[in-house]
Amino acid sequence: MKDTSKKNTEPIKKVKVEVVKIKTETIPLEQQILNFLTQNSSLLLYSTLILIYIIAFSTRLFSVLRFESVIHEFDPYFNFRSTKYLVNEGIYNFINWFDEYSWYPLGRIIGGTVYPGLMVTSAIIYWVLNFFHLNMKIRNICVFLAPLFASNTAIVTYLFGKEVFDKRVGLLAAAFIAIVPGYISRSVAGSYDNEGIAIFALINTYYLWVKAVNTGSMFWSALCALGYFYMVAAWGGYVFIINLIPLHVIVLLISGRYSNRLYIAYCTTYILGTLLSMQISFVGFQPVQSSEHMAALGVFCFLQAYCLTNWIRSMLTPVQFYTLFRIGFIFISSFVTIALAAGIATGYISPFTGRFYSLLDPTYAKQHIPIIASVSEHQPTAWASYFFDLHVLAFMFPAGFYFCFKNISDGSIFLILYGITSIYFSGVMVRLMLILAPIACVLAAVGFSFTLRAYMRYLKSENSNNKELPQFENRNQIALFIVVAITIIFIFFTIHCTWVTSEAYSSPSIVLAARGQGGSKIIFDDFREGYNWLKHNTHQNAKVMSWWDYGYQIEAMANRTVLVDNNTWNNSHIALVGKAFASTEENAYEIMKSLDVDYVLVIFGGLIGYASDDINKFLWMVRIAGSTDPNVKEADYFTPNGEFRVDSEGSSTLLNSLMYKCCYYGFGTITTEANRPPGYDRVRNVEIGNKNFELNYLEEAFTSEHWLVRIYRVLPPDNRS
C-alpha cells in the first residue's frame, strides 16, 4: 500500500536485496584443532599449569616409592621433632620451649633459636586436615610437605615470569623449575627442611615486589611485606631479599628510572616488612642493629631525601633550587656521616657475623671458623655441579641476560641483578646452588622464549608472504630446524633431570642400599637399628656422646639426651667432645666423667665400605678441638711423611685415640674380604695397625648388623681408685 500522506514527500528508497551464497567448505582436521587451541588459549594454559603442578610433585617421590615414607638426613629430624612438639604442646609452649635433652649441661633455647615457619606450616596443615577428620599422621605431612610446596613454587614462578615479561616466559619458567635438579636436591619427599618452603617464599616475595613496583600500589607492597614476613619465618636466607631489594632500588635510581611507584613500593614494603620481621624471636632486633640490614635502612633514608629533593625541585626555578640544595646537602650529609660513625664506633651497629662474612670472602671460614669450613655443603662449587644441577639452563642463562637488556624494564633489571648476585654466591658454597636454580630457570626461559618467538613466526602459514619479517635465505627451513632443535634440547633436559633425581638426590641417607652379588638389593638399616636399641635398652636419663652430625637423629629417634647436635651453636662444647675423641682412653674418661656421659656412639664404615664414617671425619674433630685447646695438635695424627694412615705405619697418637679404639674394637679378628688379612678396613683399604686391644674404661654395649653403629657403655669408676 502506498502511503499517500502529505508529510512523507521523500522518495522511498529502493533497497536491492542480494542473495549471497555461503560457501560451506569442510575445514580440515588440523585447522579445526588449531582453531580450537587458539580460541581456547586459557584452556591450554591452565591444563599445562595443572600438568606442571602434578609433575613437580610426582618427580620428587622416588625415595618414598623405593624405600618408605621416612624423614631423610640429619636436620629434618630436628624439624620433625619440633613439629611433633608443636602439635602436641601448642604454639605458646613451642615459642617458649627450652630443651634440656640436647647440649647436655647447657640446654638449648629452641623457641628463640629456630625459624618457626616450617613447623607452623606443617602444624596448620595438620590441624586443618584433622578439623575435617582427614586424619593424616604428622610424619606423612612432614614427608610430603616439600613436594607440595615445590608444586606451589612452580605456580609462583609462572606468575613471576608473567609479571616481568608475559605468559609464555612464565610457562617455560614454571616447567623448568618443576624438574630442575638444583631445586629438587633440597625438596624431595622426606627432606623436611627449611629450604623446602623457603624457595617458595622467596619467589613469592620477589613476584609481589615486582608487581608492587610495576603497579605502584600500596596494596601489593603490603602483600609483599607479608610475603617477606613468611620468608623471614621460614629461613635465614631472608637476608638475601633484604639486600637484593635495596640494591634493585639503587640501580633503578642510578639508571634514571625513579618514579613515584618505586617510592611507594619500597617505603611501604620496608616499613611493614621490617616491623613484621622483628616478630620472629630468632631475628629479634637485628633488622635495626646488625650490618646485614643497614643497607635497607640506608636506601630507605636516601629515598626519602631523593623524593623530597624532587618535590622541592618541581616547585622552584633551577637557580633557587641550587642555592637551597647546596646548603641542605652539606647539612644532611654531615649529619648522616656523624650518625654512622657514632653507630659503628660505639658498637651499636654490630659488624658482620662470621657466617655472612664467609660468603663475601670465601677463604675466611677455613682460617678462622673450622666448624663452618667442615660442612661439606659449604665447600666451593665445582664446575661440574653447574651442569649437573642446571643442564641446558646454564647455557641459556647468558642469553636471558641479553634479552633482559634488550627489553629493559624495572622488572628485567631486577632479574639481571638477581642473576648476577646468585651466580657469585652459588660459586662460594655448593649449598647456595639452591638460590641460583630459580633465577636460572627464569632467565633461561626468557632466552628460550624470545628465541622461539623469533623463529616461530616463520612457521605460521599466514606469515608466508608477510614482508615485514626479516627475510633471509631458506628462512622456513632454518626456522623449522631451530624449533625442532630446541624441542629436542627440552627432551634431553627432561631426561637428564629425571635421571639425576632418580640416581643422585633420592637417597634417604638414613637407609642405605647396595647391589649384592647376583644383583639383589641389600638394605642397610643400621642407623635406625642402633637408635632403636638406645631407645629400648637404656634408661630415660642416659646421656649419649657422639659427634655432632648425629645429634638430631639421636634426639628424634632414640629420645635420649645428647651432648652436641647439628645446631653447632657452642663451638667450645663441640671442641670438648672432639678432644675427648682425640685423646687416649684414660684422658677421655676424665672428660666423659665430667660430662656425665653414659654411652658413646660412633659410626664405623670399614666393614661394608661406607665412606662417611667417623674415622674419615676424625681430622675435622682434631681441627675443631685444636681451635680451642692448643694441646691438641693436628700434626700429631699424621705420619712423619704427612699422611693420614690407620695401618701399622700410622701415628701412635691416632692409633691410641678413643675414636680409633671405639671404631676398631674387635675388628682385628674379622675377615672382611677374601684374600685379605683379618682387620682389613674396606674404606681406607688397609689392614689396621692396632688390633686385639682391650678397653679399660668402656665396654661394648651394641654393634649393629653391618657394624655401622657401635655403642659403648662408660664404666663407673672403681670402688678403690
Partner: protein, 105 residues
Amino acid sequence: MSELKAVLRSLYLEYKNQTTSQLKLLDFFFIFSLIVALVQFAYMIVFGTFPFNSFLSGFFTAIGEAIFTVSLRMQLKRDNTAVRPIGDFIFCNLVLFLAAFNFMG
C-alpha cells in the same frame, strides 16, 4: 642568607598555590606523624631504651603513618577522585597496627 630567605619564601608561595585543601589535610597529618615520631625518639634518648620492642613498635607506627600519607598524597595528586588508593591506605594501616600491637608487649 637573604637569598635563602627569598628562596624559602618563594617555595612557600608555590606550595600554597599548588596544593588543594584535600592534599593540605594529608600534609598536616604527615607533619603530625613526624612530630609524634620525633617525640618518641626524644623520649627514648632521655629515658633509655628499656622496653626496646615497645619503642620500636611506636616509632615504626609513626614513621609508617607518615610514609603511607605521603604515598596516598602521591596517588591522589595524580587523580583526585580515585577511591582505590584510600582502600590500599586502610589495608596497610590494618597490617601496620596488627604488627605494632603484637610487638608492643
